[in-house]
Symmetry: C2
Subunit: 343 residues, 2 copies
């Protein structure tokens, strides 16, 4: 992107044209003025979240297309709104591209963002553009609404802990993208795990359903891996947790890729991050009802993995013995020359 | 900033501790959960704006301290809220620092941001942190409220155009910071222009006063220079404008620095950008009242510079003849090695 302001005006016009394809209630003024002017629903709380995506920290252009980046920048923020059971409404998208970024790449970026935004009735109402001295940098702020947002801090001892979907798929996908395509793995499995990394599908509808269902006491999304996110939920709730490692849900594609690469799928599940599944605490008696409801409405599994304890930190148990687990997703080293994998 | 998540958790705790020093109404949940949970005022419109600040595009670490960057990142967004006559309420601050960024630098950054935020009853309610492969990258999203926001698009032919304060100070400051300290200029003048560039003071109170005063038909802030911002206001209003270049307000410090550097202060006023003054259109009969009110309440000059015309683009007049003016602020070239000045 060149730095000139007439170029920037042309870019703003282009973005406005693209963003106008998403329309939604509550937008009095969208892109083109100093601020977006928005109309919230009376009686709801406003939710706000923001996330950075930086080239060679969070992604590499070698394997992430501009449309993937647009999608993912929206997805990670939608997931934060989902984590509270909120309804996403408005996005502000800031993009800095290095010199040489083409109009086609910018269009593709917005096409990816708008595809996921539209699927969630979310309107892009503002943003910023800049040149960049290094590579692509993206910041998305997402605004949503909720009548009774679910927090991290309200889990209670005795609550059941459960996760939606399966874990470790995104880390499996990253391993394939970043390191090598393993031989002997079905193409469909490779496609499933790389798609999970490049285009995660946030649990927005599931989050809203769970918030309305009753019986859920706390919720968050799994962005850094359950090994590091779950202790956050426990800490915020001034509680502990006991997790049965065998119960962490892994899917066949993740297991197949792990076997082919000689990797530990459990380490991906606990430490890989970026699965964007929901982690929740619920009343034990509510579990079966929530499982049934999610399966019927969205064909999504809700898997119990342990329970909230009164205190004493988070403990991981395998075959009756306490174990340690891989914790936390380390992003790439800051130097672009470094080649460490994310998992 | 190192990339590890435990480091990031420590950083989030630190930021939360710092941000907790600003408190404000309407924050149900601040930093520490997936989203901020906020309470808007019934009957108001929500305003949202976002801005990127990128090292070697928008600033250089050689002359901008972390505290300046925190201040300015808030200031440019506060100015967007001011442009609509809105009341700023909540900020989300995303910061990526290169390896080697120290805790002291991060503290200083937040101290600068919080100083200006507190002065405007604005609470930092969320954000994101990341390592960066290059340098500092900052994104701030600011949320505000207004009952009747002033837009760019509502100026009418015959309206008077006017600006608050003086123009070109920030460009004069940038010239001093980026190029050289001119000899023969009073230290107070140098300090005034460099402060205008490093720590612009957004016209938030003035904006709210103007929105409430009546008679103002359109407003925007001057971030890129009147030479490029005014045509934006005219375009959005489907109108034209006729400006008397001699009436553009320049202050003595700007003139003195320009004389010492052999620069044209008028080019700084029209093309320098980053003054963060307000440009407004008003009913001609309202001008004197608005001037008096701003002078009494805030000791700020409101200077008429021309008028809105029915169409035909924006024309600049000097001594009765049409002239062209320097338009638009060119940020630094993308390559850090390049040495072009911003003005």
């Amino acid at each position: 992107m060149s730095a000139g302001r007439s170029t920037e005006d042309a870019l703003v016009r282009r973005i406005r044209e693209l963003a106008a394809r998403t329309t939604g209630a509550g937008v009095r003024v969208g892109i083109g003025d100093d601020c977006a002017v928005l109309e919230t629903h009376p009686g709801t709380r406003l939710l706000a979240t923001t996330d950075l995506l930086i080239e060679d920290v969070h992604f590499r252009r070698r394997w992430a297309e501009p449309a993937d980046l647009g999608w993912k920048a929206l997805a990670v923020n939608l997931s934060d709104i989902a984590a509270m059971g909120g309804r996403p409404r408005w996005a502000l998208v800031a993009l800095a591209g290095a010199d040489g970024t083409t109009a086609e790449e910018i269009d593709a970026f917005y096409a990816g963002a708008l595809e996921l935004a539209s699927a969630h009735d979310t309107v892009i109402v503002g943003g910023d553009t800049s040149s960049s001295p290094y590579g692509w940098m993206i910041n998305v702020t997402l605004l949503g609404e909720a009548t009774a947002p679910l927090l991290r801090s309200t889990a209670r001892p005795g609550d059941t802990l459960a996760v939606t979907g399966t874990l470790g798929r995104s880390a499996a996908g990253l391993a394939v993208l970043e390191r090598e395509t393993p031989s002997g793995v079905e193409p469909a499995a490779l496609a499933a795990v790389t798609a999970a990394h490049l285009r995660p599908y946030p649990r927005v509808r599931e989050g809203m359903w769970l918030a309305a269902a009753g019986g859920v006491t706390a919720m968050m999304d799994l962005s850094d891996g359950v090994g590091i996110d779950l202790p956050r939920l426990a800490d915020e709730s001034h509680a502990g947790a006991l997790i049965d490692v065998e119960r962490l849900p892994l899917d066949d594609a993740t297991r197949a890729v792990a076997a082919a690469l000689g990797a530990d799928p459990l380490a991906w599940a606990t430490g890989g991050g970026e699965d964007y599944e929901l982690l929740l605490a619920c009343e034990p008696t509510a579990l079966a009802r929530l499982q049934r409801g999610l399966a019927e409405a969205y064909r999504i599994h809700l898997t119990p993995i342990g329970e909230v304890t009164a205190s004493g930190g988070v403990h991981w148990r395998s075959q009756g013995r306490e174990v340690t687990v891989a914790r936390g997703f380390e992003h790439f080293a800051a130097r672009p020359a470094a080649s460490g994998a994310g998992a």
